[in-house]
Amino acid sequence: MNSQTNAMSGTSVGEQAGATVAGSPMQPFLWSLRRECWEYRSLYIAPLGAAGVFLLGFIVTIGHQVTRMRGIVGMDAMHQRNTMVTPYDMASGLMMAVGMIVGVYYALDALYGERRDRSILFWKSLPVSDLTTVLAKASIPIIFLQLFCWAVAVVLQLLMLVIQSVVMAGSGEHVSMLWAQLSPIQMWIMLLNHLITVHGLWYAPFYAWMLLVSSWARRAPFLWAALPVLAVGALEKLVFNTSYFFGILGYRLGGNPAVVFVKDWPVNPMTQLMIGHFFLNPGLWTGLIFTALCIVGAARLRRYRAPL
């Protein structure tokens, strides 16, 4: 009886607090994002785990690294740089790959899982619109996962740099060459640029397509996402003996040529950003329009879809 009276006396205070907290229209979106992080812990565990394993490998082989560094003295600048940068490029590449794998896994399950475990009925009993939910789910692989992978990569590479510097200094090497060649700040800006533009915005249509399939499929969303795409391409080849569809797909998968393929490497990496070129590319905008259509379609489907 006592606890009940206490609970009742707390009513007015709680109500006021609740009203101000949930008043803003951004609130449901932000809480939907939190919900995704609670539900899909692999979103942060996988990048952190991969980074941890990589760092461990780096530490184990650090002696070998330093020996190699010693061997490059006297070589040409290009070769020196390549030798030094390789482990750091590998770290960046690893975070990109992990981000993609986790992003694909997430996008295929995001709207399918909640129907499979019937929890969609719980989510729909709350005042959050289908579009808010789908937008939150779409923004995870397109924006937030990329930002997170970038942050993990930065911390990982910083730790690698510090460890390598300490080991090199301990064996009497010059650390300054390592830092000068790597130019970490530029490296991180480049990586951020690459993750946001290519892995986020340029690949957004893939993630949006997977979300659409995940809101529609009754089972096996991965197969439904992949097989029809292959079928369309194969059919085109068979009927018209052309491969425009696969061409488009390859162009999209290859990344935006305006940013990705940096051929003349030892120039100031800042000039390679070419943000302007990227945003002027019509391919980006057709991709984003396709993304928007898939998101709207997924939101509409979520409205109609019952639990499985």
Partner: protein, 290 residues
């Protein structure tokens, strides 16, 4: 003011008609029991009211069209579809945080007050709780929402009798008041007989009975017929007749209780008995209290 108002509400899944143009009006402050056999259209009706499915005809819930305004409507409406819809990965503390975040009418202190009376710990995940505890948790969340309409679809399915009893007690004592409306469907009809203010039977997509419980009690009478009076009683046209422990039991609609009292023992039938009388005339004999 009507809380729910439907006119010609119809829903078909392909060739199968789940709701065949029903008219329905639920006033504010009522507790309506929606009773029907499996596949009668109960869940379809509730889903339409909650904006979970599209429909034909007119439907108005708290002045809104549920299909196009579900997210806004859910500030004033809450529902428990059944016991198994809480996401299994969520922690109790996360559920409380999330509800506080997205629902303008959620009272967290109240929910914590309800939870304090149970064995549920804030750090537990839903998957670690027993079925009864999940129902307790969901009910605690729902009862802490200051909403005007609460819809419960088989809320006690699969719970043992202690939890079921506690569930309805809690709902009546801690939640219900005259400004709130509750719509509930269940197969355990006898457990909610004393809870309801209104009763509706639905069968094959149509409403076959729509009455307040007061009218139910005056209109329907069950008579345990004295053996020598059976023919007399039959002449009054019972809507159902069955045998129980060697006695004949009849259910009458709209027959004066005084008139029947001379023919045997009279009492108000249970909802289950009336349900069987009205829906299962062919196999009424086989089913007593459901």
């Amino acid at each position: 003011m009507a809380c729910i108002e439907a006119r010609g509400l119809r829903k078909a899944f392909g060739a199968q008609v789940a709701l065949d143009g029903i008219d329905l009006r639920v006033e504010e402050g009522r507790i309506l029991g929606l009773i029907g056999p499996n596949g009668a259209g109960k869940t379809t009706a509730l889903n339409a009211i909650l904006g979970l499915i599209s429909y034909e005809g007119q439907l108005n819930v708290l002045g809104r069209d549920p299909w196009s305004e579900r997210d806004v409507l859910m500030r004033d409406v809450c529902f428990m579809a059944d016991v198994a819809v809480m996401p299994r990965w969520i922690r109790v503390s996360q559920a409380l945080e999330y509800m506080t975040g997205v629902h303008p009418r959620f009272n967290r202190a109240k929910a914590e007050g309800f939870l304090a009376k149970t064995d549920i710990r804030h750090t537990s995940r839903v998957r670690e709780l027993s079925k009864g505890m999940v129902a307790q948790l969901h009910l605690a969340l729902v009862m802490s929402l200051d909403v005007r309409l609460l819809v419960l679809d088989e809320p006690t399915l699969g719970l043992d009798i202690l939890y079921r009893k506690q569930f309805y007690d809690s709902l009546l004592n801690d939640y219900f008041d005259q400004s709130r409306t509750i719509v509930v469907t269940t197969h355990q009809v006898d457990e909610i007989q004393d809870v309801l203010t209104d009763l509706m039977f639905i069968n094959r997509g149509r409403i076959v009975l729509n009455t307040s419980m007061e009218d139910f009690e005056t209109r329907y009478t069950e008579l345990k017929v004295a053996p020598e009076q059976v023919e007399m009683a039959r002449a009054l046209k019972p809507i159902q007749e069955r045998q129980s422990l060697g006695r004949t039991i009849m259910v009458f609609a709209g027959v004066e209780r005084k008139q029947l009292a001379s023919l045997g023992e009279v009492r108000t039938p249970s909802i289950a008995d009336l349900f069987v009388a009205m829906m299962g005339n062919t196999n009424g004999r086989a089913r007593g209290a459901a």
